[in-house]
Symmetry: C2
Subunit: 302 residues, 2 copies
């Protein structure tokens, strides 16, 4: 599981700070999460192949999370993309994108599939053999969802020496990987656990931005390996949290502790602060394993 931060600052793009966008590589998928203005340039800069992106998840319709979307869609068109593109986001996202295509008289030559979200409860919005994606309803000034990405339990791994020693026909290997006991060439039933080892532990990633402190999300993200939780403010501006519906670094850490998260990743920093050190320090008063998002930084979680 690999996460590339394309932008992690709040409000407005600046010369050196990009607004929210990230790429999550998980079980061969490449998911784009949020798409602030300039995301397409950040994707180029970090040499992320446009064609690998087939699913884009938009948390909410504030500009710093989606003003780059229509440009990216338009660039895909100019590059003669053919693959379908799925877009998950709040109701209204389809209207705003299609209006712009209509005004430009520039319709995509690939299929654009919108999945508009309206539920106030967590729901499964994507699933295949490898991965599930669930929404995480957040509390912000407009309708907002975080997203929970979960690998599915993979196949068990063959212990090839043990399999051969047990004299099992190659035709049964798939069954073994699926966890079944099988008979060997001598008709003896072989205990699966003696010839296979467990699958890799499925990994999970929760993206929670933008939101004020919301304990309701804890059951949804319980035991997640990595939690990205917005931390717009430091403690000295905690009073702005409820007003603007954002969180402090400490509040993000409280959620991480309650949810028994592996790693907490902070981000969506207000640009009023010089440097990010204090965000980490304040979060670590509550929760130990804290990392700082930074534009262009890549995290590998294995």
């Amino acid at each position: 599981m690999k996460l590339t931060i394309l932008g992690c600052y709040s409000a407005t793009p600046r010369t050196l700070n990009n607004t929210t966008s990230q790429v999550l590589e998980i079980n061969n998928h490449m998911f784009l999460i949020d798409c602030g203005e300039g995301t397409q340039v950040q994707l180029r800069k970090h040499k992320i192949k446009f064609n690998r992106i087939k699913h884009i998840f938009i948390s909410h319709l504030h500009g710093d999370h989606f003003f780059g979307l229509v440009g990216l869609i338009s660039t895909f068109r100019l590059l003669t993309r053919e693959a379908d593109l799925h877009i998950y986001g709040p109701k209204g996202i389809k209207e705003v994108v299609t209006l712009q295509m209509k005004l430009a008289d520039s319709w995509t030559n690939y299929k654009l599939i919108f999945h508009e979200l309206t539920s106030e409860n967590s729901e499964l919005i994507f699933e295949d053999d490898l991965v599930e994606v669930h929404t995480i309803p957040l509390n912000h000034r407009v309708y907002t969802n975080g997203f929970l990405f979960k690998e599915k339990e993979g196949d068990r791994k063959l212990d090839i020496n043990a399999v051969e020693a047990a004299n099992i026909n190659i035709a049964y290997y798939t069954k073994l990987k699926q966890g079944f006991n099988v008979k060997n060439n001598d008709g003896v039933l072989i205990d699966n656990k003696k010839v296979t080892t467990p699958a890799n532990k499925p990994k999970s990633y929760a993206f929670c931005s933008d939101t004020m402190y919301k304990e309701d999300i804890v059951p949804i993200i319980k035991n997640v390996d990595v939690l990205y939780h917005e931390s717009t403010f430091l403690e000295k501006h905690a009073h702005l949290g409820p007003k603007t519906k954002h969180s402090t670094a400490k509040e993000a850490a409280k959620i991480a502790r309650l949810a028994n998260t592996g790693t907490l990743l902070l981000g969506h920093y207000s640009t009023r602060y010089d440097g990010l050190k204090a965000f980490k320090e304040e979060a670590q008063e509550v929760f130990n394993n804290v990392e700082l998002s930074e534009d262009g930084k890549t995290f590998e979680f294995n």
Copy 2:
């Protein structure tokens, strides 16, 4: 008259190439012309004060000319702008901006005034004591206007030695600047031309992008000091011009020659070419005084 090129490439923003946007300083106005994605970051980079921009002119609703507009409007809001902002552009521009403000539940605290354009003929769209702005109807795949910016004839200049020698009361200086003959302290009528010198020659700038070769614009831009004319293609791709409704460098030069332009400024280059030298060379086969737009370049025309 000073022009700053924020972006001058066609189609999509790239790591080093920005899409169309320019700032024209003329007679104390600071006009923003077109606003591709990333324009707000380019404005910051070139230290252009946001508050000095009171008028934005959008040629057409293709993304590489306007996807940065809504982000800029939103950033002005976040920076608590108070001054009115006038936006001139094709019909539809108001709907697309206001839809995004509605979805974000983020209305501007300053006054946003849209001037939607629909005419197929050149029209006067802005005028004050110092400057006029006219549309230049272009021929592109969607409804498109260029813009002609014209300084008005300013005041005559006092020859202060001559004025004092002529014994003219200071109360008449404004009249003198306006070109009137006035009586001096001895009651003698003084010929204005003897105590003043002509005003600076009013300057003019025409922005023509995007368009295929269109001779109809020549009477509108006749004798303009500086003509920016798009030159998407080199001669070897001239066949793409009518199809995509763009021009070659040579066609831009033909327009400049017919219009008796002072300087021709090329831009809106396709990113398929390595370097810009050939654009200038091909244009100079037809018209001598050619300059190349480049992102970040500033031209002073005095």
